[in-house]
């Protein structure tokens, strides 16, 4: 069943959701990948489309050109900062975030950052602006830690997001994932932290993230459970990594690619 579970946010609820996740999960085979490629190709456009859960939730609406801001930098800085805290390499979140920012600045100063990158952007900020970025990131990361520390299972911050390019279809997928819980019985329960409150299409976004995470793995195996956490609203939404959710997620991605294609044609016309 493609059931969406909604719970109030608490460590107990998260632990229960991780603990009773199904042991089996759906795996994408080569046939599935080929079928998905054919469907993306059939959307009929040569425009390169970048899709993620947000584009799925907003029905393929065109997004404005990406620009770094304190809000979108906090996840990129907060994730490695939390890795420093949880591994004991930083004493507290503020120190970890400051270290991460300094690391980016050093990278840019030594010519190892491309224009448009986070390092490049941070380097060109004033001390005051950098302090705003640090304050925003500390708030995001501390909120995440506050939710996760009492969870009774082992968890680790995700190393990267899930990326998958659909061969010959000019479609790039990016699935966001913030951390992974591992339990004795299940292998992978993935969590995503989001701001604000869940919209009516939040379930579609979660299913799209589940699919992109599975596709990005060589064995094609989806997570046993995918959990969206909205700390601002104190809510958790979760879906299982079963065939129904994988199918629904894949369909929504293809539909979004189609809408994006129509939008591009409309703009070109």
């Amino acid at each position: 069943m493609s059931t969406l579970t909604i719970r109030r946010l608490s460590a107990i609820a998260l632990s229960e959701l991780a603990g009773d996740a199904p042991q089996e999960s759906f795996s994408f085979t080569d046939d599935h990948r080929a079928s998905l490629m054919a469907r993306f190709r059939a959307t009929g456009t040569t425009e390169h489309r970048k899709l993620d859960a947000w584009t799925v939730e907003s029905s393929g609406a065109a997004s404005s050109a990406f620009r770094w801001s304190p809000t979108n930098a906090r996840r990129s800085l907060g994730t490695p900062a939390l890795r420093l805290v949880t591994s004991g390499r930083a004493r507290h979140v503020t120190e970890a975030v400051t270290l991460c920012v300094e690391d980016h600045v050093v990278r840019a100063a030594s010519g190892r950052a491309r224009p448009g990158s986070l390092s490049y952007w941070l380097t060109n900020l004033s001390d005051v602006q950098r302090a705003v970025v640090i304050a925003d990131t500390v708030t995001w990361a501390t909120g995440l830690l506050d939710v996760m520390e009492p969870v009774t299972y082992d968890w680790t911050m995700a190393e990267t997001d899930a990326y998958y390019d659909v061969a010959t279809a000019r479609v790039s997928l990016r699935g966001r994932r913030d951390l992974c819980i591992t339990t004795e019985l299940t292998q992978r329960v993935i969590l995503r932290f989001r701001g604000g409150s869940p919209t009516r299409s939040a379930g579609m976004g979660l299913r799209a993230d589940l699919v992109m995470d599975g596709l990005s793995r060589p064995d094609g195996q989806t997570a046993q459970r995918f959990i969206g956490v909205w700390p601002d609203a104190g809510l958790i939404l979760s879906i299982d990594g079963n065939v129904e959710n994988a199918r629904a997620g894949a369909r929504s991605l293809v539909r979004t690619a189609m809408m994006r294609g129509h939008l591009a044609q409309h703009i070109a016309a």
Partner: protein, 265 residues
Amino acid sequence: MSSATMTAEPRITDILRGNRDNRPAANRAAAGHYRQLIEGALENLTTRASTLGPLVIRAHHLDPVPVVHIGPAFPLAQLRGALISELLRLLSTGQSVRRPFEDAREAWAFSHPHSPLHRTLEECDADDLARVATDVTAHAVTLIKALGPVNPHWQPRTDVSVVQHLRGGDIVVRDRLDLVLGSSREAVASEALFDVTTSPLSSRSDAVLRYHALMETLRTGVVPLRVVALSTATGDRVQYEVDDALLARAVSELQTAIITEWNRP
């Protein structure tokens, strides 16, 4: 509901943390009860036209009689409040503030590039700007003197957003907390909320503090330890220990605000 109003001396961070040995056990059972109380009062609301969208409630709706803001000073007062909140964010990360107005203005413009208050600032002539600058600096001096150092081990979070959906999403209750210290996951109540205002303290600021406490209770599911407000206009501060009486009053005030706004023509 115990309270104490003071005029000076103890630093805000000392008040927020208090004596660690005297903290009550974390109350994780109350949030559901208060949510039920709020929802219960909303059951009999009449149906509202769906075209109106959800009713959005914020702290300023707690005013029993809405204040009509007339005159050119109001946007500038709003701007002053926004700039002081921004300074609090800088101070909470350990950033030293040497030029309060310039630093606050830069931080605010950076984090709120689309605020309508930019226009207010652009429309200021040299005299207006000098007046705002000295005003903000005076408030900043009060804040810096009163606040005290924010230890990063206290897990400071600034500008924390809270949003709660009631009556199946017909009503959205929003809040922003200037500064939150401590954690909701400890065995004893440890979260302390701080609100900075550039207006003198009044019964309205008390209601706002209660609102903050209730919203954080609903968000985390744990009752916070205490709420503290500082007026940078007068240097006065007020603190409340968060208990059942305070939260019950906050529920009643929120219900009144929702019903008033719901029935507003």
